[in-house]
């Protein structure tokens, strides 16, 4: 094979002389292939692909249980079983329920809302690195992937919410107008999740190891977010420093979980919520959503490198 390196090209090539390439390209209005579009253009492209984003999310969701005999029934069964396990451990064995009225609805709401954030972030870490084939084969704004995974989790959550309504009614929680508050809360939480998913998607694209680390971070985050215990009740009875209290209460996961509990469960009162809770919920959503989007966009042209 030495001839490969030694023989000069037998014919003259048609390559443009160096330096003139840019000029030639400019004269005919050619643009750099794979260059990052401006932020407004990027948003527009993403909007144009909205049907792909939702179709991809729905497809992933349906494909998930398509081989199971019970099929889509698992969409509701999985969260219910999940809640049952947590109830058994924390409600029956450990007895965390002391002092929390309506413990089962309290716990199940916490688990479902937390799972929404957790799985969005987990899916986000693999959104680019797990879809390299897609990224290397087709053109679309790459943010479509993490967003699509977040939407898939939102759809999953809607199934969980249906299960939750059944649980709430079974445990005698009255239906009330405040249930409607769930809509803005989940919208904000979705924004937050999608934003964080985009941040970890960029990190995961560069360093796939993030996906190994994430479960541990998420589990720690879960235990401090008051999924199985009441932050308000704990804070009241303990002598922790003020900053720790504030940190616990303004943790975004805790904010969305407690707001949903407040909306759904009549025995969960407003005084159990931290101060300025809606400002916190909106603030986290905007910070993560907008910040995450810009952070993701900044590396748009590099996705696809293995």
């Amino acid at each position: 094979m030495s001839q490969v390196l030694n023989t000069p090209p037998p014919t003259a090539s048609s390559a443009s002389p160096t330096g003139d390439a840019a000029a030639l390209a400019a004269r005919y209005g050619l643009t750099v292939s794979g260059a990052r579009p401006s932020l407004p253009a990027y948003v527009r492209q993403l909007w144009e692909r909205r049907h792909f984003i939702t179709a991809f999310a729905t497809a992933k969701l349906t494909a998930q249980y398509s081989q199971a005999k019970l099929g889509q029934v698992w969409q509701v069964m999985t969260p219910l079983l999940n809640a049952a396990v947590y109830y058994f451990i924390f409600g029956v064995l450990l007895g965390t329920k002391h002092g929390v009225p309506d413990f089962v609805p309290f716990l199940v709401t916490g688990v479902f809302i937390w799972t929404f954030t957790q799985s969005s972030i987990m899916a986000g870490t693999r959104a680019i690195s797990g879809s390299l084939g897609l990224v290397r084969a087709l053109h679309f704004p790459r943010a479509a992937l993490p967003v699509s995974y977040a939407i898939q989790q939102l759809q999953q959550l809607l199934f969980s919410m249906a299960a939750l309504v059944v649980i709430l009614l079974c445990f005698g929680v009255p239906v009330s107008a405040s249930w409607l508050l769930v809509v803005p809360v989940l919208t904000l939480q979705f924004l937050f999740n999608a934003g964080v998913a985009m941040v970890v998607a960029r990190m995961g694209a560069k360093t796939p190891d993030i996906a190994q680390l994430m479960p541990f971070l998420l589990r720690t985050w879960m235990y401090v977010s008051g999924v199985m215990w009441s932050i308000a009740a704990t804070v009241k009875n303990s002598h922790m420093p003020h900053w720790a209290e504030v940190a616990l209460e303004s943790n975004p996961a805790a904010v969305y979980i407690d707001l949903t509990r407040f909306a759904l469960i009549d025995s969960f009162h407003a005084h159990q919520l931290p101060h300025h809770v809606w400002a916190l919920a909106i603030g986290w959503a905007l910070l993560a959503g907008v910040g995450g989007f810009i952070y993701f966009w900044k590396a748009e042209e590099t996705y696809g490198r293995g």
């Binding site: 001839q3 490969v4 390196l5 023989t7 000069p8 090209p9 037998p10 014919t11 003259a12 090539s13 048609s14 390559a15 443009s16 002389p17 160096t18 390439a21 840019a22 030639l24 390209a25 005919y28 209005g29 050619l30 643009t31 750099v32 292939s33 794979g34 260059a35 144009e48 692909r49 049907h51 792909f52 179709a55 991809f56 497809a59 992933k60 349906t62 494909a63 398509s66 081989q67 879809s131 084939g133 897609l134 990224v135 290397r136 084969a137 087709l138 053109h139 679309f140 796939p208 042209e301 590099t302 696809g304 490198r305 293995g306």
Partner: protein
């Protein structure tokens, strides 16, 4: 060798001249300027297996990539060419010579290490395999694939019947409503091609492997490619089948070991290539 090409100051000449009529202005659609593409592969270096080596790699960030166990694969080396509207360009070369990699970079799907690629509009690779899901029915995959390629729902609805008929999936029964995992490999290849070929492209790039399916489907797909060629401004075709290169292309780029070895009219290049491969 590629440097020689790059420094070659000859005016645009004979090489691709056959493609367009003399006198008429030749409009470039793709300009590649000294393109290098490097793949980085993690975890190939010695010592990767041991935990201390891995830790070492993380702690000492500033060390050379080689010491970090990252292997660099220089897949395309300093390749320059200009493609013009109306040309059909074949890419040839032995396995692993960088043909597909170069196409992906032209399509803007793979970042280049250095150099620049300028294109007119958005070149697209013919293929949607990666967007399709085996657990979904053929029908839903048609929609998913179409959307992934950037078609609108209405466009897909319009072409849906055409796509299904072209794939011939339903010739043996109502298979389009079954999950794709139940298809034979030939059947799914046919459906994939039919979805991919449903869209019109400005700069179209076709990566070999079209020789799937039975004889009658091959004939149909060749006809479809000719049709696509008519509507596309410029066509790139990667193939190991010299006959299909001869049939479709009027200019050929020959890549070997990532370097552009030859660029010229189909016959000239193929003659050299056949000599090289000992055919």
């Amino acid at each position: 060798m590629a440097d020689i090409i790059a420094q070659d100051t000859q005016p645009q000449d004979s090489a691709a001249g056959a493609a367009s009529a003399a006198g008429a202005e030749r409009v470039p659609t793709v300009v590649a300027d000294r393109v290098d593409i490097v793949y980085r592969v993690n975890g190939t270096g010695a010592g990767r297996g041991s935990a201390t080596a891995a830790l070492n790699r993380i702690l000492r960030r500033k060390q050379s990539e080689k010491a970090a166990g990252v292997r660099r694969v220089h897949a395309v080396k300093c390749v320059s060419f200009t493609a013009y509207r109306g040309e059909a360009i074949g890419l040839i070369g032995t396995n692993g010579s960088g043909k597909s990699t170069l196409l992906k970079a032209v399509a803007g799907l793979l970042p280049v290490e250095s150099g620049k690629i300028y294109t007119d509009g958005q070149p697209s690779l013919l293929g949607v395999n990666a967007a399709l899901m085996n657990d979904l029915t053929g029908e839903r995959n048609v929609y998913l694939g179409g959307l992934a390629m950037g078609m609108s729902r209405e466009q897909i609805k319009e072409r849906y019947q055409e796509i299904v008929d072209f794939s011939g999936i339903n010739e043996k029964g109502d298979f389009i409503t079954l999950p794709m995992r139940t298809y034979s490999s030939g059947m799914s290849a046919r459906l994939r091609f039919s979805i991919a070929a449903a869209k019109d492209h400005d700069v179209l790039m076709i990566d070999e492997a079209l020789a799937t399916g039975d004889r009658s489907f091959q004939k149909r797909s060749e006809a479809r490619i000719r049709e696509l060629r008519k509507t596309a401004g410029t066509v790139f075709l990667v193939s190991h089948n010299n006959k299909s290169i001869r049939d479709t292309c009027d200019r050929v780029l020959w890549l070997e070991r990532g370097e552009l070895r030859m660029d010229g009219p189909t016959e000239d290049v193929l003659k050299e290539y056949e000599k090289f491969t000992g055919k």
